[in-house]
């Protein structure tokens, strides 16, 4: 290629590149024309289950039909997918973000701070049942007295353990570990079974490491971030933080009870426990049906206990928020949809019956989302259709009463990503310097927390 030709190619390449960037930034957010005359408001929503989840998908589509029949003039355009931080900004920039979209409890603070969501406070007066949602969960979706979304599910962490391996290792499955030293002792005994069995498993990748570090430091009375006047500050670089990492380091290197394979992320521990290779890990109760449906596990094998340490437990959950560009009509229609499909005390009985009929799990232990009459209705519906070995969760139900529910820190996913490093180093480097790891993480976390409004 001579210089002249190269120049032409380079120039045309640059033009094409610039054009593609402009297209990306400006997006292609052309509003679709109204689908038909009779529809006054059409809204896009996500969280439509994929085709692999036949029952849930059909249930969702049926709900869309009944909702549209009850609300003439509203059309639901349902899409698959939940919250993925990696694609969220791109969808937003390209005008592809749904009007009503799914979030985890870790997302709202960040989205509100960045003004990427719509406020819904003025519209809530038309929906009295919202008043029965637990106020501390509404706080997750609020800032400065304004509301930006609604919670749908709520869960808290406990110690998920393999009852079968407990029995094999000579431990009592009805008396699971209550403290972290108990966990360590049990992990050693389970790992001694050999054959690749791991006593205690933990995460260190894709933000799950920081998430578990947070749950573990809460459980011994520590904290990840605290409000200092008007600003937030990292609070994990202390004795409690060191204790969490030291316990993991001891179990990994001194006892050799955590297996050799690390850099694990969410599904890895479920898979290990479902295949009978893992004794314990900390998890929310919703892991149990996933192990059964996706990894061929068996309900009778799994028990759930309260968080070891018992000072507090990390509570998380899921909910929905609204596109910053959604019109008032779309927000109202979206709220109607959410309070029909997800947060609907009038349908608790019908929904639990549907689940039980489809042989899906009813009766997993979880913290309440509702207060007052709605809470009573919910408990009655679950009790009527419960189909799980409730005895396996007795330790959790009996011991969780005194455990404080603590929400995730602000900008949680970002803090978790920072804390992943400390978890990964402790589990993969025998000589990891815990003090230095926490000091580094604290520096980075404070930079992130400084942006919290």
């Amino acid at each position: 290629m001579n210089r002249g030709t190269f120049g032409k190619v380079a120039v045309s390449g640059l033009v094409a590149f610039a054009a593609s960037i402009v297209a990306l930034v400006t997006g292609c957010s052309k509003e679709k024309a109204a689908a038909s005359e009779s529809v006054t408001t059409s809204i896009t929503v996500n969280a439509l289950p994929p085709e692999t989840e036949t029952f849930l998908r059909q249930q969702f589509l049926d709900d869309v039909k009944s909702f549209e029949a009850k609300n003439a003039g509203i059309k639901i355009d349902a899409r698959e997918g939940k919250m993925d931080p990696r694609t969220f900004t791109t969808k937003l920039a390209g005008g592809q973000l749904e009007d009503v979209f799914y979030v985890y409890f870790t997302d709202p603070a960040n989205l509100i701070a960045k003004k990427q969501v719509a406020e819904i406070t003025p519209y809530l007066k038309d929906f009295p049942s919202v008043a029965q949602i637990r106020p501390e969960l509404m706080k997750v979706f609020s800032a400065g007295g304004k509301v930006y979304g609604l919670p749908w599910t709520n869960y808290s962490m406990g110690l998920l353990y393999n009852r079968t391996l407990f029995t094999k290792a000579g431990l009592d499955p009805n008396n699971p570990p209550k403290t972290w030293p108990d966990v360590r002792t049990a992990a050693k005994k389970i790992a001694a079974l050999g054959d690749g069995v791991v006593g205690y498993g933990d995460y260190s990748k894709s933000n799950t490491g920081g998430w578990h570090f947070t749950a573990e430091i809460y459980s011994i009375g520590g904290d990840v971030a605290v409000k200092d006047g008007e600003t937030w500050k990292a609070a994990f670089n202390d004795d409690k933080g060191k204790q969490v990492l030291q316990q993991l380091k001891d179990m990994r290197w001194t006892d050799n009870a955590m297996g050799q394979r690390q850099f694990l992320e969410w599904a890895d521990l479920l898979q290990m426990m479902a295949s009978g290779k893992l004794g314990m890990y900390i998890a929310t109760s919703d892991n149990i049906p996933v192990m059964v449906s996706q990894f061929k596990g068996n309900y009778d094998d799994y028990g759930l206990a309260p968080m070891p340490g018992g000072k507090a437990t990390l509570a998380g959950g899921e909910g929905f928020m609204f596109n910053a560009k959604a019109t008032p009509e779309k927000i109202k229609a979206g709220l109607k949809w959410l309070l029909f499909k997800y947060d609907n005390p009038e349908r608790f009985d019908e929904q639990q019956k549907q689940e039980a009929t489809a042989k899906r799990p009813v009766g997993l232990p979880e913290p309440a989302l509702w207060v007052g009459d709605a809470a009573k209705k919910y408990t009655a519906a679950v009790t009527a259709y419960a189909n799980l070995p409730a005895g396996n969760y007795a330790p959790f139900n009996a011991g969780s009463g005194g455990v404080q529910l603590k929400l995730e820190p602000p900008l949680a996913q970002q803090i978790y990503a920072v804390l992943d490093t400390a978890m990964a180093k402790v589990l993969t480097d025998q000589n990891a310097d815990i003090g230095a790891l926490l000091a580094d993480a604290e520096k980075q976390a404070n930079v992130i927390l400084a942006t919290v409004k």
Binding site: M1, N2, R3, F6, V25, G27, P85, R86, T89, L92, A93, N110, K114, K115, Q116, G196, S204, K205, S206, N207, G209, G259, Q260, R261, Q262, F263, A324, K325, Q413, Q414, A417, V418, D420, T421, A424, K425, T428, D429, D440, K443, Q444, V447, I448
Partner: protein, 258 residues
């Protein structure tokens, strides 16, 4: 480029923030770590990925039989999707039941934690990258070797030159241009390493975090800040741009000579 001087949330108008994004990345303790890791990776990857394909090409070129078979075998990994390669090696490296440790155990040799040990992590990533990418370089070297006239080797043999002398005095001088071109291309390619550290050691391990992984962290995991990611990308662009200019000069100079 424009994004690196802005704060954007993709809802309201972008806000101009001057050099704030650059200042933020310079103050990030991971900034120099990522550059150092990238340079280290590039250095080790060149040592392997530059020398190994050359000798492979020479060996394949000298073969009397199965030349075609080896040409295909060497190029095969290039045809695999990069993520598939990395997932395959993830199984090789698994410290519990992975292929490598199973073999080492069988031979009663000490096992390694591979990607999960601070000492071996970077080298492990380089091995994956070399295996996956050396096919292209080998084929290019082979093509260059085919162009060296046979008479030169015959003459050298008559003079009593051994294999190494023939390689040093005949092969390498004739391949100087292709060696230089591939050196530039490989520097540009290896400095953009992403999939290997991303999949094998995650975006959180300071031992293997590279510039591209840090850009990903800025944009999608830790900071959710496209301005910082764009600022880091601009710096990488400038560094790679310098090598690209050197490459273009090299090619055009050779073109004029031809």
């Amino acid at each position: 480029m424009i994004l690196s001087f802005q704060q954007v949330n993709f809802v309201s108008d972008p806000e101009w923030v001057g050099f704030a994004n650059f200042s933020a990345i310079f103050h990030d303790p991971l900034f120099w770590t990522a550059w150092w890791n990238t340079v280290t990776f590039t250095g080790i990857a060149l040592a392997f990925g530059y020398v190994v394909p050359f000798f492979l090409a020479v060996v394949v070129n000298e073969m009397r039989h199965f030349k075609g078979y080896f040409r295909v075998a060497v190029y095969l990994p290039v045809m695999l999707p990069p993520l598939v390669v990395v997932l395959l090696w993830q199984y090789f490296y698994d410290p519990g039941n992975g292929l490598f440790n199973t073999v080492l155990r069988g031979l009663h040799l000490p096992e390694s934690q591979w990607t999960q040990s601070p000492r071996m992590a970077m080298l492990s990533l380089v091995l994956v990258s070399t295996w996956a990418n050396m096919g292209t370089a080998t084929i290019m070297y082979l093509a260059a070797l085919q162009n060296i006239p046979g008479e030169l080797y015959e003459a050298a043999e008559m003079e009593g030159a051994n294999v190494w002398q023939r390689l040093w005095h005949v092969t390498i001088p004739h391949m100087r241009f292709i060696l230089a071109v591939l050196l530039m291309l490989q520097i540009v390619a290896t400095m953009q390493v992403f999939i290997e550290p991303f999949q094998l050691t995650g975006t959180t391990n300071p031992d293997t975090i590279t510039v591209m992984v840090l850009i990903y962290r800025y944009a999608f995991t830790v900071n959710h800040d496209f301005g910082m990611a764009a600022a880091m990308s601009v710096l990488l662009f400038l560094v790679l741009g310098a090598f690209s200019v050197a490459y273009i000069r090299l090619v055009s100079r050779e073109g004029m000579r031809a």
